[in-house]
Symmetry: C2
Subunit: 524 residues, 2 copies
């Protein structure tokens, strides 16, 4: 008699009680929940005709369109697994993920069909290719296929602990890993979300966050749970965002801090007439105080800072507003808002621990690694037992994020755990040291890493790129650090370099600076 926990339940409920309400706006197309769910069920019928069985993987490469959104229902309700792929990746990355996931079907927006076609011959496991829009040679047409079938009505019973999605991590230093999230993981993460971010059927949600990004932080289902409206958006550029905000009466959207910055910096004529009171959820990196002050102070929106990872469904903490925060000035309030905060409801346990697994003191200074266990935590990495075992050592999922805990219990990330420098038993945040050096007028860029040291274990070493035409003595930099840092945090060594090694997405590759391979386990 026990019913499974699955976000598909939200669709069933919306179909019953919100059937005539607007579900999706995608360009000129407007769909009620009845129409939207009819399309999802037709898409399921097509997929079944194409041979999709429970457990099969179906990959999607698409921006935020209705076809992409429909796939988050049509695929899982067959008991199959959706594999959303970051459309910004290269054709070879597409190939790797499609092959690694063992996808039987690949669906793509027409923008990405050509890239897939380039690697198509290397994908013998894929049985069919479906183009979400238009007609492409060698691709099934999504819209024509939907029109040609009757909506599916018989669906398999879902096991709540079966995998709903495999979401590939960005993999800065190694091949991406496939994070397996279950129906139960996602259902509970959404219910916790609705507790912290109250939503109703009047919600009009703007799809600024890519759906491929951990299933749009599960909002592909959360908005349906409350009977709100999904407003699709192909690209989150500020002009398009502000237009939709006005034209569609948007009440809520999600955005990484980079998108928030572009919104905050939009020209005045673009920002004109923007509605006030819009709620913005941000995660992925701490939002800068200046960005928060602009968004909240000037635009009159409300920013909430969440934290999580693909591996945790993805939200585990929220920077929950406390009554005592009301007395803070804007600057102090923004600094608090940049913290990752406290455990969300229904997420599970979140701790910050030292290498021995002991919780660090709540002193706002001692660094530890954020670890988690419970409802939000993934089933494991797909076909990668070694990486899974490493991530779950000691029974806790290790986030790889280094953080402090403030006396009020709020967590604040200070670094990646692998970049923390352990010197004489003290943990030093490389980012803290970098933050000081970057303020020196001669320094353009800097990266600080730990180097082996006989006595101290490791000592900080700074790689410095100078401003064009500027020069500075090492001793000047050392003194500058001593004035602004505890002495044990001052780099023992300063190296001037022409440029820092970076990934294609602009992240500094610190393992290159340390002169070798990444210091964490790479998937085989």
């Amino acid at each position: 008699m026990i019913a499974p926990l699955t976000p598909l339940e939200f669709a069933r409920r919306a179909g019953r009680i919100y059937a005539e309400r607007e579900a999706v706006v995608d360009g000129d197309v407007r769909l009620t929940y009845a129409q939207f769910l009819d399309r999802c069920n037709r898409w399921s019928a097509v997929l079944r005709q194409l041979g999709v069985e429970p457990g099969d993987r179906v990959a999607c490469i698409a921006p935020n369109t209705r076809a992409h959104l429909e796939s988050y229902y049509a695929i899982p309700q067959l008991g199959a697994v959706i594999v959303p792929i970051n459309y910004r990746l290269s054709a070879d990355d597409f190939r790797y993920i499609i092959e690694h996931s063992g996808a039987k079907i690949v669906c793509a927006d027409s923008e990405y069909c050509a890239a897939v076609d380039r690697v198509r011959e290397q994908l013998p496991g894929v049985k069919h290719f479906v183009a979400f829009d238009g007609n492409k040679q060698g691709w099934w047409s999504y819209e024509e296929s939907l029109a040609a079938v009757m909506p599916l009505t018989d669906f398999p019973l879902i096991d709540e602990n079966s995998v709903l999605s495999i979401n590939y991590t960005s993999g800065t230093t190694a091949r991406p890993k496939g994070v397996m999230l279950t129906h139960r993981n996602i259902y509970l993460n959404i219910l916790g979300r609705t507790a912290h971010t109250p939503m109703t059927m009047t919600e009009r949600y703007l799809w600024t966050l890519p759906m491929f990004h951990v299933n749009g932080w599960a909002f592909v289902w959360a908005i349906t749970a409350v009977g709100g409206t999904h407003v699709c958006l192909r690209r989150p550029d500020p002009q398009a965002i502000f237009e939709k905000l006005c034209d569609e009466g948007i009440t809520l959207f999600c955005a990484a801090p980079t998108v928030l910055i572009s919104i905050a910096n939009a020209p005045a004529e673009v920002r004109r007439n923007a509605p006030r009171g819009v709620r913005v959820l941000t995660a992925g990196a701490p939002p800068a105080a200046a960005t928060i002050q602009c968004i909240e102070g000037e635009l009159g929106w409300i920013v909430t800072h969440l934290y999580g990872l693909t591996e945790v469904s993805p939200v585990v903490t929220i920077c929950e507003v406390r009554p005592e925060h009301a007395a803070l000035d804007a600057d102090a309030a923004a600094r608090i808002k940049a913290r990752q905060g406290v455990e969300c409801l229904a997420a599970g346990e979140v701790r910050v621990v030292d290498d021995a697994g002991q919780e660090v003191p709540h002193d706002g200074a001692t660094l530890g690694e954020i670890v988690m266990r419970g409802h939000a935590v993934m089933a494991g990495y797909y076909n990668d037992p070694e990486a899974t075992a490493h991530a779950f050592r000691g029974g806790w999922f290790h986030s790889g994020d280094a953080a402090v805990v403030h006396p009020d219990g709020y967590i604040e990330i200070r670094d990646r755990w692998k970049d923390v420098i352990v010197s004489g038993g003290e943990n030093i945040s490389s980012i803290e040291v970098e933050g000081v050096l970057i303020r020196h007028p001669c320094v353009r860029e800097v990266a600080v890493v730990g180097m082996p040291h006989e006595k101290w274990g490791e000592t900080p070493c700074a790689f410095v790129v100078l401003q064009d035409g500027k020069q500075v003595e090492v001793n000047d930099l050392r003194c500058f650090c001593r004035e602004n840092l505890a002495h044990f945090k001052v780099p023992h060594e300063f190296r001037f370099v022409e440029e820092l090694p970076k990934t294609t997405t602009g992240k500094v590759q610190k393992y290159m600076l340390r002169g070798g391979r990444p210091n964490f386990l790479a998937p085989s």
Copy 2:
């Protein structure tokens, strides 16, 4: 790696992140979450010393006090089962429930120790008696016991599908049945609640609803989930309620319509200075339009109507406000608010079906029985497989409530299903016919039941108590009904009686009028 769903998780989380916030106010006593949970853990230690093992039942008979509240944590975290008993019952009812549940320990507020002592010799299965307050001969002292132990720290792992509470139904026509609710039932019911009734750590909840009433509609844990404050109250009389509202800055409370009526009718000097914006959740019976208009219009509070039963954890529907309701006048809005509404999030499926299990049309007229399945639905009746099988016939839990579904999908209860009269294939709500007759100036009370009829199966029969000194012809009553009802609903027979048979709580015993035993399955 899968963590159990249990409301005890809310306590763990509150202890971590709300430790210094106010958890409980009980008279002059104020406890932070750290203090409150310390007391819960001491109470667990005492219970373990008294021999409580996982699966054991512990009965509680108490008004809304901190000791009673603490029991909702201390007992389940041992893996034991709490059996809250309605303190308004007789000593013999106490005996029946304690014996039927097999309780090993009985805890009671000092007000009820004497009643328990009267039946004590008939309770050989009870090993210990604990008095929640004061010192009673033959009873352990709760406060002294707590002071004498160290808080328990090792708790068993909870199976989410194990029973957390056994809540006995009121049993108007038979012995009460013990409803088994699991940790998972209650956890999900609370998460769904937080989605529909957003709450935060600033919530100050007044305990007007008895905790024994389905665990205070699960608010014993829901308030802890958000880090709010439980404000205890021994008796929900209007004077005390208004005092607490002002003195404690209450933001939220629950109340059956009878309590709402007493609030609405409180004298002006009592209502003076009442805060505005208080949220009120009501359930148990539809609130009258006049009551809603007074509470919302005059006091400026917000009333939300929920529906459920002990057997469903207990909330399954909410009369959710829709944007289009805003255009309604106060009278129409209050009529909508009296409806039971639509499925809550995370409650499961709710349908209104005919005898064949088919959903009734959404026409606001066709009567069916409300049935449910899914997360909210109990594990069964304790030690009563026959009643359990009967309630779950066809795989759905049968509520016994007769309702219509309006075109907007909102459910409205019209009768108890067993009181619906089936005449010539048409379902007639006895309450609808009574509602017409009670408006006749000569009628003081009326009850309508179905009587067997050769041609129609059943026909309505009205039992009428006249106003003192009034007289009326049967034909006048018949004409009056014909003017106000569809003809097939007009009673075939009218009987004048001195009084109607009633239970001690004032409910009309319709099975007595039908001249026999209840027409539904009684527990053995």
